[in-house]
Amino acid sequence: MTNSKLTVLFIFIVICFSACTKDFLEKSPIIGITEENFYRTEADAIAGVNAAYATLQFQMSEAGHFRWFWGDIMSDDAIKGGSSDNDANDLLQLETFKGPTNTDHLEAEWSADYEGIYRANVVLEKVPGIEMDAKLKARILGEAKFIRAWNYYNLVTIFGGVPLADRVLAPSEYNIPRATADQIWDFIEKDLKEASADLWARSEYAPDDLGRITKGAAQSLLAKTYLWRKKYAEAKTTAELVINSNEYILVNDYAEIFTQGGENNDESIFEIQYMNASGGNWGRNNANEGSFTNVFTRARGRFGGFGFNIPTQEFVDEFFKEGFEDPRLKSTVFRIGEPMGDRGIFTIEETGGFPHLYYSKKYFNNLSEQAPFGDPAPNGGSNDRVIRYADLLLVHAEAAAQSGNESAARQSLNQVRSRVSLPNVTATGSALLEAIYRERRIELGMEAHRFFDLVRTGRAPSVLGSLGFREGVHELFPIPQSQILATNGALTQNFGY
């Protein structure tokens, strides 16, 4: 009996041993791969840079750039809208320049920019070590540099000097203080110059790569950077590189630009890609290819939107200043009585009783263009037209006018005007400059340029003063209070907040 007891006991001990193998406690993720084992192939490099692209699409909290929040709502062209004053109330406070410093939307912008910078930095650190086609590698690094520069461009124009993360930061470096705005601008210039050299021209990309950053995009953003820094001569020559590349033209039909068919057309220099069939959902839209802009800017009521970014009367009036209705108005706003695409006629009642006379039209999607599955609200399909050739021509015009070459300025300006059959401008001096500014407001209306143009050219205090804008303060938005706290005060607040 004793022996059988011990035999049974022995069997149990053996069972236990076999259960406890050496690496029993070593479990690595089954799906996904650890960072040490990634970044080894050409496909890894492409996937790496694609992840950086994905941040361009970010909208909403906790990370996202709605460019029109800052460019349009904060300007005299539009007001916030929404269901009531309480709907995104922080935007109301910001647009009336009573801005709180803790708004989710500023924090989301900050967060999305730095996520993009982090992902670009990962590419710039990991991809050089991959053995792959040299031309492709150069392009990928160029794409990453552009994305990094683009995010810094957002940051410096919204917040001024910000912490400069020129590499993947270690936890000990999270509290780095703000660099000066000039240091950030210098960094942007350097990235864009390098990116311009490495990136492929638009025509060099395969059709399936449409939407990737091109040489022209990097040069255009560099021209805009120079213009902001009042380096007019450099801005002019850089813009001319784009013009003379013959990669871009103004399309004939202005109205066509903002339709689904007008996406990535010959006028498109930098466009953030969205699509309506990704099935994505609310929240941080990593996996979501859709845009919220469509639903946010559509009218409420039967149009099923949230009714944000409402054009002002003053903005609409600007289209009549030449004594007739500018032909671009009908592509820019909806007016009462007009059909809102295939969604029905715009009346106050149908929009839920809100007293708005206009709605923004450039990011309108038809019912027939709505996402075929998933929640249609976060799955709008309209690409964000960030830099159009018309913008670049007007940059060129402004740079030329500012550097004394008025005929070149007028030529670019009138090229934009003649597309919509408007008479040539013949003005000179400050009147020419004013004409260029006005052309930007109309040509690029509701495309998130206005506030930044006003600040860049120093006109914001006079134009926005009646709305509460104070010179020396509201050129910049406040640094998110949460970030000042998170860094134990290593970040300082902007003046006046």
């Binding site: 149990f12 069972i15 406890c20 996937a47 990962v122 949460s482 970030q483 998170a486």
Partner: protein, 1015 residues
Amino acid sequence: MRIVLFFTCLMVAFNIQAQVNIKGKVTFANEAEGAIGVNILLKEDNSVGTITDIDGSYSLTVPSKNSTLVFSYIGYNTTEIVVGDQTEINVSLSENASVLNEVVVTGYTNQKRSNISGSVATLNAKDISEKPILRVEQALQGLTAGVQVAQNSGSPGSTLAVRIRGVGTINNSDPLYIVDGVPVDGLDFLNPNDVETMNVLKDAASAAIYGSRGANGVVLITTKGGKKNQAGRISYDGYYGVQRVGRLVDLLNAGEYATLQSEAYLAAGKTPPAEFANPSALGQGTDWQEAIFETAPIMSHQLTFAGGGPTSAHTLTASYFSQDGIVGGPKARFERATVRLNSNYELKPWLTLGNNIGFTWLQRNGLTENSQYNSPLIRALNMDPITPIRKADGTFAYSNYADTDIANPVNGIAQTHSTWTTNRLVGNVFANLNLGKGFSFRSTVSMDVNYSIQRGFSPRFDLSNIPSISEAPTAEKNLVNNVSVNNYLWNNKQIENVLTWQKNFNDKHNLTIIAGTGAISNRFDGSGGGNSNLPSNDPKDAYISNTVDPASQVPYQVANESSLLSYFTKANYELDGKYLFSGTFRVDGSSKFGRNNKFGYFPSLSAGWIVSREEFWKSNFISTFKLRASWGKNGNDRIGDYSFSTVVLSGQNYAFGADEIITNGSVALTSANPDLKWETSTQSNIGVDMEMMDGMLNFTADYYIKKTSDMLYASPIPLVAGTLAPPQNIANAENKGLELAANYKNTKNIVKYSVGANISFVTGIVTGLGRGGDPVPSGYVQFANANASQTDVGQPIASFYGYVTDGIFQTPAEVEAHAFQNEDTAPGDIRFKDLNGDGVIDIDDRTYIGNPTPDYTFGLNTSVEYGGFELGLTFQGAQGNEIFNNTTRYDFGYVNRPSVALDRWTGPGTSNTQPRANLNDPNQNARVSDRFVEDGSYIRLKNTLLAYNFSEKHLQKLRLQKAKLYVSATNLITFTKYSGLDPEIGNIGGSLEIGIDRGFYPQARTFMVGLGLTF
């Protein structure tokens, strides 16, 4: 490996002595029949013993005349008899009212309650089966001090928040559940009638034997097993009942709504709809609460077959339970069917094999719950009363008045098709080896296999009046139907080996030592997919492949695994029956933690002194007086499986090309933390147990301090990092508490009665949050677009944080005189206190405005028995907690309001509590403030039971052993000041989401009739 050491010391030997044969019969006092299943053991050697048979007879061979026999049976006094010259020993066992003799399962050992030095609460089958509870956790509600139980939702099959000694962590606060030795993640699969005992290990010393998983306390459940030598028994238990909503919120009717809205329109400079001009013509309108609540059935059937022979015993049970929802009816139905077989076989005198195996099928239909956006409740509370449920043509109507986001709740329920189906096997097989000399060895292999399918379907619908133009708001239509399916497979395996040595030296030293090892391996596999635009709109056809384009499916697959390897030991030592010592030590290694911290070490010590057994103890009134003290460490390992690693995740996509091809992107979203380790809680406990009046009255008190350190928290890192924060071991918290419980039981008179009461005080504060200690916000409230709660150093977890109201501005002068709130602030708006005195009301004027955790929770239960009748009442409640009432969408000016809104300010002196009506709320009266914080205290008559037990005479006629008929009610009466539907709101969405009512699905008031029969 270390475990070898435990076994190499085994020595097995046998002695042979002069033997005596004894036989006899055991009866219970006052009963003629023999007592079945009484344990008879040789005091000198516990390996010798037997159990009485059906007649109460036994026979036993003992080594010598000097042997002492110990007769024991649960609930009766243990009797010791020296054999001497007797060969027939007949014993009558007297009933013991004392709870100190009950056997308590303490984790790998069983101990008599009198010998326990830690803090353990026990519930027996009687406490559980006599209440028609729906889920096992409910049995703990109101019956045990220090255990707070709240329903996470009143919807059938909802989980419960069980908090042992308060919320000790900002992470998962659920206790560890062990059913027959198998760790499980909740008890929804368990038939309450199958439970024999539930033991709650409250202090760290008791729970430390579960090491890295014990920090939130441990609930040990033993299911009913067969008893040897027991006549076959068949029982049926069943009940049927109806459920109704307890109470409704007082809302505006159509006329009142129109009156208020007209004012609100005018105040906002808008013209009210013409039909609001004559409110009295609108009358009552639609009562949306009546529209969604219904009377719903509930039923349970249970069959038990139990019996045992001399070498084996079995219990086989089968049960079916079904409950419809008081909202949604069958759309919220929960059904559960279980079968269970618990057996043990004495294969050899020294080898017992057994199994506890249960299979559960359950199905739960789900509605959206506790959501401030689209739950049926929130829609019913906010939908305007003018809109009818249905249009004249019988189809559902949509609102022209309330905000377009507020959808018709009745239609919403009708369009919901969501089902969760589980097939689950939880069980173990074990072998017990009696090695002699006090050594025994137990090996257990357990499995928990759960295969669940979740199916969802959103049909096409459109409430538009003119379908061709589809004018209804987005929330009232779904133009593209979609279907989803998710398959989940959890496969958890465990093997445990425990060696036990029990020895009594010189009748003075009682020693039990155990040593064991355990290995657990868990794997989760999930896959599923979705599709949309199905040609058929019938839920019966809702399969992802039922579409014109099968390739359009969106599939996914996930998988993860974790493992835990453990070594543990425990020693209980009892000296002279007066001094008790216990110590445990456990080593846990987990795959979830970083390379640098794979193993955690968890020690504990406890001691007890039974003062009343000392010579000097003279009191007869207090028959037992015991002091206890314990200290121990526990861990909490409930974090993600791979939190320590940096994983490059695909799916960070972007669409390129004219054809919008979704192209994969990959990046690591979270930084790594190779130092990740256990969250550790250290707890000290002192307690006293007293028994008075011959065991009729007993009293227990415990005081504890529980410190949680290295709490896992993904403290937000500066966003400049561009990554999500990894969890780090940085936060600390401290809970202190006092628990008192008293029970009085009088079973001597014809009228038997008992009264039990318990009360638990807990105060918990956060003592550290790492990185400069930024408060952790939680509890997002949509109407204020802000968080209602925050967790900060020095404050209770998830305290409400916001503005303090100070009445209503009555005149422009008052607005002028007060700190600046808003340019459009006007008389009738709420005055907020300028706490920092800077003349501006802004975020710096917020403060702590409430605590969602009660100061104390309590339970009171009483029962009276007389002549077969039995009346039982259980009260239960909480005191001193606040609830943030987030059930009205104040961000929408057009929605319906509670009736108190009628008391609005309309001119100087009209109201100092309810602000003026204004669609736009320019003053932001709806910001997070104490206006929405309500007293959440309540007392609830949780259970009421009136039963009749048929007398012996009737039973013989009916050839039954036992018959019981009862009526019962749950949630019959509730006393509370809270204005919402139900003050007993649980905890959905993590430990920090507490005390916020987002349209909580209220608990039903239930009436049942039940029957119990035993053949």
